[in-house]
Structure formats: C-alpha cells, structure tokens
Assembly symmetry: C2
C-alpha cells in the first residue's frame, strides 16, 4: 500500500519567508538554508530579526493570508488524494501552514510549531523530530506503507532516496546536476503521471 | 503538537459489512469481531462466503456507493481538520474506503488492502501492520506527535489508552461498563469539545 509524501514550499505553495521578506521590506529575511544550512541557527536568527523590527506572528500570518497555492497545485492535490493517501511533510510551522492547507482542500500536513508569547511575538521554534522528512518516511514505512516522495530542495533528498519512488520537482540546476539519476519534473501533470505509474506496480 | 486518530466504522460511517449483509440478503455476513474475535479468521470466512455466493468486490462497492457518512460526520470532520491534523485509522480496506472518504471531504485514512483476481473476486486481505491502531499511534508518537484518539470498539481501546487523551464514541454498554474511566460521548459536538479542550493543554 502506497502513501505519497510531498514537500510544501516550492512544490505546492511559494516560499513563505521570501514572500514575507518582500511584503515586510526586510531583504535579510530572504536568507534561506541555501545561505545558512543550519536550520536551527537560521530560525533563531529570523526570530531575532522579527523581534528587532517588532513584527509578530500575526504580521506573518497577514502576509500568508495573501499567498495562494501555486497555479494547478490544488487540482493536482485533489486528483492525487483521490487515488493515493498523501501527506505533506514540511519544515514549516503549523501556525504558517493552516491558511494554506485550507486553500489546498485541507490535506494532512506533518510540520513543526512555533511558540508565541502573550504579545504575539515568536519566542522559539519547536521541531517535531530530528531529520523530519526522512524520520517521518521511515515511520510510515514501519507501519506498512511503501512511500513515494517528491520535493525541490536539499532537505527533500533523504526522503526521496529512501522511498520506493522519488521525484524532484521544480528543483535547481545544481541539484539536478548533482543527482542526475533522480527523475525531475516541472509540471504537475508529469508528477501525477509518474506517481500513477508507480501505483500500478 | 497533536494529531487526532479516529476509528471509521461506527464513528464516522455505518458498519460496511452490516450494510452489505442487508443489501445482499446474506445474514451470515453480519458476523463481526464480536462473534469471531480473530479478524484474520473472520475475513477468510467472509471471503469464502462471497465466493460461494459469486459476489465480487464490485458488488460490495455498489453497496458502499449508497452508504452515506453518519449525519453530522462530515461537518465534524471539517471542523476538526481545520483545527488539528487528523488521521482515520481503520481495519477496513482501501477499496471499501475510497468512496466514503470522498463523501467525508477526503481525509487521510490509514487502513488495509484487498487482493482481487482478474474476475473481480476478492482472493485475500492484506493487513498493513500488526495491531494496526496501536502500532500506528506509536509510530506517530515516535515522530513527535501527541495523539488524541477516539473509537467505539474493542479494537480501538489500545490506541485510546496509549494516547494523551482518548474518548469512546457511541460505544456499547458493555465497553462503557468495562472501562468506566474513559470519557464516553454520543454527539459529535461533545467529542469536538473534548478534543478542543485537549488542544489547549
């Protein structure tokens, strides 16, 4: 029995921090794991910047409210979920994801959470588990699922490689070049087609 | 971070085999785990009865197509899923569950599967894992979730008792009497209220 595990940002919705960097006019917030590979360090630094600019969780949520799923993402998810159990596995936070999940038809998402003080400032981030994408895929495999995985970034590679079938989606030229054996798609129809092929096996 | 784990039959939709026993006019198929606690033995016996009556998977699916979720179940699921990640953990089969999931707004379900021959006869059942409800809840806990669980039957007790909060829903008088410490509800509004209380903790 198969379950499909998908990355969120870059695959189904735009990058949230990039959108917020633009909306807030704070270009430093464009910094991602490509610049700072240590996610914990990056998040602490982001939380510091937010505090410095007196920006609360609500401010970020107001930006997220204006973000729509990528064109075709909702239709892709609707089709996929009617044919295969599907879980989004993301490093984002439940407080960011909620409005986006509503727009995607309420798929299941396994992500992280933020701690917020009484004034609405983000005080810390709480990771659900270590190496969340790989650990989650392994846990699903341990309860009898075969996994199919897709994502766009370095942090998706482990779950893609640990799965029965794995696909890169809208990834960078660098990752494509580094992992030439992984099928790479840019259109939802291609990704859906490849997942359907695997479901027949 | 919480995830809610729900039983399917009796909690969100009627009992599928009971509906099929009535529709097909084969009263023996009303036999459940209350009569035969060994699920593997029960399923093999059911598959034999179907074969004897020349009934295929399609015949059962035709009955299931006429089954609706219990009144209020869809609204309950919509409300719950917008507030908490939710997974249905069921001993049913993906081939039975699919049309019901569509009517419930496509929630995620972790269940089992059936093997079917080229003539459409069910040849065997394939369980996803051992003690699927408890094993699945433990796997979710291993990846950083605290679980909330609800169900109506004996096979739900392990996941209910292993969870941070567990609730019986529309259960039998016998189970209520045997487990007087477990909160028991009959209305979706009560169950949703109890889950909301737990989410605040």
């Amino acid at each position: 029995m198969y379950i499909t595990c998908l990355d969120l940002e870059g695959v189904l919705v735009p990058e949230i921090w990039i959108a917020f960097a633009e909306e807030s006019g704070i270009p430093e917030l464009r910094r991602t794991t490509r610049d700072e590979p240590d996610y914990d360090k990056l998040m602490k630094w982001r939380i510091g910047i937010l505090r410095e600019h007196k920006l609360t969780l609500r401010d970020i949520q107001n930006t997220i409210a204006k973000i729509d799923p990528l064109p075709g993402a909702k239709e892709f998810m609707d089709a996929l979920r009617s044919e295969c159990q599907t879980v989004i596995i993301s490093d984002t936070f439940e407080q960011f994801a909620a409005p986006l999940m509503k727009k995607l038809g309420q798929p299941t998402i396994f992500c992280n959470s933020l701690e917020v003080d009484k004034d609405g400032f983000i005080t810390s981030h709480k990771m659900r588990c270590e190496k969340s994408k790989l650990t989650t895929v392994r846990a699903l495999q341990s309860i009898g699922f075969e996994t199919i995985a897709s994502g766009d970034s370095y942090n998706d590679l482990a779950m893609i490689q640990a799965s029965k079938a794995g696909f890169l989606f809208r990834t960078t030229d660098k990752i494509k070049a580094d992992y030439p054996d992984l099928p790479t798609f840019t259109e939802y129809s291609e990704l859906l087609g490849a997942i359907r092929e695997q479901l027949k096996k």
